[in-house]
């Protein structure tokens, strides 16, 4: 016996009969059947009780008045107890002037019970005959109960207490009114005592009529007696019995017919069931043909339920037939399942069919295996296809490739044939992004139990192996086709049989391919693959990015190598004498950097920055170095090649006093290539420009594009450029000073002149003028190309002139007096004119030369001064030329 029910809550806690009460509490029965008793204030209300839960019952109060408990009785807990009380009351009338503590269901009030409970009977007339308005202040019932325990104010009750009644109803009535009420009550009691006699008196006529009627009835009955006998009902009884018999006969027939009909129906049912069994093979065939496997499965399960225990041979035979069909179907479905390509949804449906058909196959696992095999097979197919395409392709290519030498082929050449390895990589990326997610999805649903298949032990690792294998194969194919050098020999033989296109071509496609691989990678990331698999692809991506970067660098290096000089001097800007060459170089690198930044350096999901990778950094450094060396070589080649000199060997090197000046200004009119010396100067100024400006610009560009500074390669390039500069300068000086210096000696001794002859000097000698003019010539040439070079070149030339002068002076055997004067005037003139561009060394040579000449006396010195004065005046323009600005 469980705990007894207890009522702890009532809503509402009072009301007239017919109030719907929500009774709450504990253990109010475990079910509607468990609830066996319910009394509200002693009135059984089980009929209206509505069991909701163990804690809640809804019931309707019966005809009750006064306070009372609500007792619930259950089968399981017995008779219960109650904590709260319900108060029932009768409402006289509900009118606009009367207020009520509860909502009065007026409809229920009027329909409750039968006539005895009609509203009029509620309305108790006050026994004192006083009109009782509901007292303003009622005394609470609890208090009354305290005053009159075990009594109440109900006048019909045995426990009626007049005190209670008066307190309840006439608390505010005045004594006089009460007195009048008492008189009224007495009169009424008196009236009731005399009641019976006065009633008869008042109705005498009606009573007499009743007696007459009774007498009449008796007479009639007695008159009929002889006609019908003592028992008039016998005949009737017989007739009734007869009719009953007839009725039965009628109905028996109907009932029999009904029985027969039922039997027939049963028989038909059985027949249809058998028909279902025997027709099923055909139906199955038809439905299989239509593809309605759901119906087949449904039928099969039904027939199995109906007949699987049968012992009747013919049924068994039919069942066998069905089983055979089903087995065929299973095999067919199983084959369909593994027949690729197929969507995951289709596969799932087929797996469900097979599971429902209780097939012996491990359908889900087979589906996964089939998928994985399909992917590897597809990889193989794509690979072979492209390999087969490549063969004729490569033949035609080798023919066309020979036409272009590697260096002449400009990168803009339209390439109509996309190389096989590019196509292959593209397609394999596409293929894996299409096929792999399905494998992963079906695997996930297999292991999450969505396919409702039992998962065998060890499958998890096998599946992981499978997935890893697919990813690995994919990675190897990508590596094999694009960067075979990252595979070892045996793998290369397996995966990398496609020939790689040339570098320039590759550079065109690599960023695009990188994008394909990246999109495949992002697909993997979206699928939430284990990091083990993702890392594999990530590594490939990293290698590919490095490779791509390297190729792009190489391509740029190649383009730098092919840079040519157009010798057009750009006069604008800070640097003069500079051609487009260094800027072209800068642009090439800049373009490359942009491309690299866009494609390779950008970091996508789950990738590391290339700049943090040591290998990538090393590679970048190396490639950068190559690039700078290439440009250096370009400059070097330009400075050392005199190959187009033959057309202009007639250009004058220096004006010469001896012999005819050969075709003095036959500048090359047919080509705009300047003469060799000019070219040297141009290269020199380019060199300087590159060293000072371009390299710095490169550094800032590196920074802007997020490249590492690559300090070492830049500084080594600087050193190299400096060396080149020096060698070019040497070359130029050689070209210029040698002939200049060479003319001095023959010109000095022209006209059989010698220092020991005594020819009175009146001017400086022509060789000095010639020398000065030649220097002016050089000066103008440099100014023409690049004034910045002036300080680097001219002093060197002056130095060699001074040295030659000293040499010639020290070679003179003897000076006459006039000769000494002449020599001194010559040397001082030269020294003066060239002062602006004289190095210390040159000054030193001039001094030495003067010291070689024998000293002069006062008069001779005046002659020298004289000559110089005249000379200065005459050669004013020349002096101005050589003066430093």
């Amino acid at each position: 016996m469980g705990p007894p029910p207890i009522v702890t809550g009532l809503s509402p806690n009072e009301g007239p009969p017919g109030t719907r009460i929500k009774i709450r509490g504990e253990n109010l029965g475990k079910s509607p059947q468990d609830l066996v008793g319910l009394t509200i204030c002693g009135v059984d209300s089980l009929l209206t009780a509505e069991w909701k839960s163990e804690n809640k019952i809804i019931a309707i109060s019966g005809p009750i008045k006064g306070k009372g408990d609500i007792i619930v009785t259950t089968r399981s807990g017995g008779v219960g107890s109650c904590n709260v009380t319900f108060k029932g009351y009768h409402i006289a009338t509900i009118g606009p002037m009367k207020e009520s503590a509860v909502w009065v269901e007026e409809t229920e009030l009027f329909t409750w019970g039968r006539h005895s409970l009609s509203p009029s009977s509620y309305q108790q007339e006050d026994p004192l005959g006083l009109s009782v308005e509901d007292a303003e202040k009622k005394i609470p019932e609890d208090d009354l109960l305290q005053f009159y325990p075990t009594r109440n104010g109900d006048i019909t009750s045995n426990d009626f207490s007049a005190g209670w009644f008066l307190l309840e109803n006439h608390q505010t009535t005045s004594f006089n009114d009460l007195h009048a009420g008492l008189v009224h009550l007495r009169r009424k009691v008196q009236g009731q005592k005399e009641g019976q006699l006065s009633f008869l008196k008042a109705n005498i006529g009606a009573v007499m009529d009743q007696i007459d009627t009774l007498v009449n009835l008796k007479d009639r009955y007695e008159a009929d007696l002889p006609k019908l006998g003592h028992e008039p009902t016998l005949k009737l009884e017989k007739a009734i019995k007869e009719s009953e018999h007839e009725a039965r006969k009628l109905f028996d027939e109907v009932l029999n017919r009904k029985d027969r009909a039922e039997k027939t129906r049963n028989a038909l049912n059985v027949l249809t069931r058998f028909r279902f069994l025997f027709c099923l093979p055909c139906v199955i065939d038809r439905n299989i043909k239509k593809g309605d496997y759901d119906i087949v499965i449904n039928d099969y399960i039904r027939v199995k339920n109906l007949f699987h225990k049968t012992d009747i041979p013919i049924f068994k035979a039919a069942l066998n037939e069905i089983e055979k069909r089903i087995t065929d179907l299973q095999t067919k479905l199983h084959q369909d399942l593994q027949n690729m390509p197929i969507t995951v949804e289709q596969q799932k449906r087929l797996i469900r069919y097979l599971v429902n058909l209780e097939s012996p196959f491990d359908a889900a696992w087979d589906a996964i295996k089939a998928r994985s095999e399909y992917i590897s097979k597809k990889f193989g197919l794509i690979h072979n296809y492209h390999k087969s395409l490549e063969k004729p392709d490569s033949k035609s290519k080798s023919g066309s490739a020979s036409k272009y030498s590697k260096y002449n082929k400009s990168p803009n050449t339209e390439i109509t044939i996309i190389p096989a390895c590019v196509n292959f990589t593209d397609e394999i990326c596409l293929s894996i992004t299409e096929t792999f997610p399905d494998l992963w999805k079906i695997g996930q649903s297999y292991f999450s139990g969505e396919l409702q298949v039992k998962i065998e032990a060890g499958r998890q690792t096998e599946y992981k192996h499978m997935v890893m294998n697919v990813i690995e194969t994919y990675c190897k194919y990508v590596r094999g086709s694009l960067i075979p050098n990252t595979l070892d020999k045996t793998e290369r033989a397996q995966y990398g049989t496609l020939t790689l296109p040339e570098r320039d071509e590759m550079a065109l496609y690599l960023p695009e391919l990188l994008h394909s691989v990246r999109s495949a990678y992002s697909t993997f990331i979206k699928l939430d693959l284990p990091s083990e698999a993702l890392d594999l692809v990530n590594l490939v991506l990293l290698d590919l990015r490095i490779h791509c970067m390297s190729i792009m660098f190489q391509q740029t290096t190649e383009q730098i190598k092919q840079l040519t000089e157009n010798w057009k001097i750009n006069y604008t800007g800070k640097f003069t004498g500079v051609t487009e060459l260094p800027l072209k170089f800068l642009n090439l690198i800049e373009d490359m950097m942009k491309a690299v930044k866009e494609s390779v350096l950008s970091i996508e999901q789950r990738e590391i920055s290339l700049l943090e990778n040591q290998m990538a950094q090393k590679e970048m450094e190396k490639q950068m170095n190559n690039m700078l060396i290439a440009f250096h070589n370009v400059l070097n080649n330009l400075s050392s090649s005199e190959d187009y000199d033959e057309c202009e060997n007639g250009t004058p090197v220096v004006s010469q006093l001896i012999g005819t000046p050969v075709s003095s200004h036959k500048t090359s009119s047919k080509s705009n290539i300047p003469i060799w010396e000019h070219r040297l100067l141009i290269i020199l100024s380019n060199c300087l420009f590159t060293k000072i400006t371009v390299l710095d610009m490169l550094v800032t560009k590196f920074k802007e594009n997020g490249f590492p500074p690559l300090q070492t390669s830049l500084s080594s390039a600087k050193i190299k450029l400096e060396q080149l500069e020096k060698s070019i300068l040497d070359k130029y000086l050689e070209q210029k000073s040698d002939p200049l210096v060479g003319t001095i000696e023959p010109s000095m001794y022209l006209g059989r002149f010698d220092w020991h002859l005594s020819i009175p000097p009146n001017d400086i000698r022509p060789y000095v003028k010639e020398c000065i003019n030649n220097l002016i010539n050089v000066h103008s040439e440099i100014i023409h190309i690049s004034p910045t070079l002036l300080n680097a070149v001219l002093p060197q030339v002056v130095e060699t002139v001074a040295e030659e002068l000293y040499r010639l002076m020290s070679c003179a055997q003897r000076f006459s007096r006039e000769g000494a004067v002449q020599a001194r005037a010559d040397i001082i003139a030269l020294q003066e004119f060239l002062e602006g561009y004289s190095t210390e060394k040159a000054q030193h040579y001039f001094k030495e030369a003067i010291e070689v000449v024998p000293p002069l006396d006062r008069t001779d010195e005046i002659i020298v001064e004289d000559i110089l004065r005249q000379c200065r005046a005459r050669m004013k323009i020349q002096v101005m030329c050589l003066r430093k600005a």
């Binding site: 702890t8 809550g9 009532l10 809503s11 709450r24 804690n55 904590n83 207020e99 503590a101 609470p140």
Partner: protein, 201 residues
């Protein structure tokens, strides 16, 4: 007296007052039966009574859940007379219900004629923070003015539901003890009353 408590645990009569729809019945049902009733059905007058452990002492709580609707305003006096402690509920999502508490408070004080009657101001529906119309400060200020505690509850999440009933019963118990003392020794009731007031608050 002692005999009575051993036989029947002390009975504390609690009355729920407040405007219609603020959640008086919801709080009561949550406290009594741990259930949250979603549908709204206006109460007429409901009684609940159960035994509980108040600080280790077994007591009975009698809850009279009254009608909030204005229609029944006139008969409230009758109910209020029997109450020993009051939970005055309003909904923090409805300012009108908060304003109505003033009226309830006045009526209770008038009927009970005692400004120390155990009384708690309760802001219900505190789970609907986003619909709040009555600020915590406003309510707290009013409670301070009256010298009563203010608690926010949620009949839906049962937050502070037990707290308000238990807190009120503790006040009722303390109040009854005090009354016993004052009835025993009338001499120094004034001081006592003042002191106790401080303890309660």
């Amino acid at each position: 007296m002692a005999k009575k408590t051993t036989v029947q645990p002390a009975l504390h009569k609690v009355i729920m007052v407040g405007s219609g729809g603020v959640g008086k019945s919801a709080l009561t049902l949550q406290f009594m039966y741990d259930e949250f009733v979603e549908d709204y059905e206006p109460t007429k007058a409901d009684s609940y009574r159960k035994k509980i452990l108040l600080d280790g002492e077994e007591v009975q709580i009698d809850i009279l859940d009254t009608a909030g609707q204005e229609d029944y305003a006139a008969i409230r006096d009758n109910y209020f007379r029997s109450g020993e402690g009051f939970l005055c509920i309003f909904s923090i999502t409805e300012d009108e219900s908060f304003q109505a508490t003033q009226e309830f408070r006045e009526q209770i004080l008038r009927v009970k004629n005692d400004d120390q009657i155990p009384f708690l101001l309760v802001g219900n529906k505190c789970d609907l923070e986003e619909k709040r119309k009555v600020t915590l400060q406003e309510a707290q200020d009013r409670a301070n003015k009256w010298g009563v505690p203010y608690v926010e509850t949620s009949a839906k999440t049962r937050e502070h539901v037990d707290k308000v009933f238990y807190d009120l019963m503790r006040e009722i118990r303390a109040r009854k003890k005090e009354e016993n003392k004052t009835s025993n020794g009338r001499g120094k009731d004034k001081n006592k009353k003042k002191k106790l007031k401080c303890i309660i608050l």
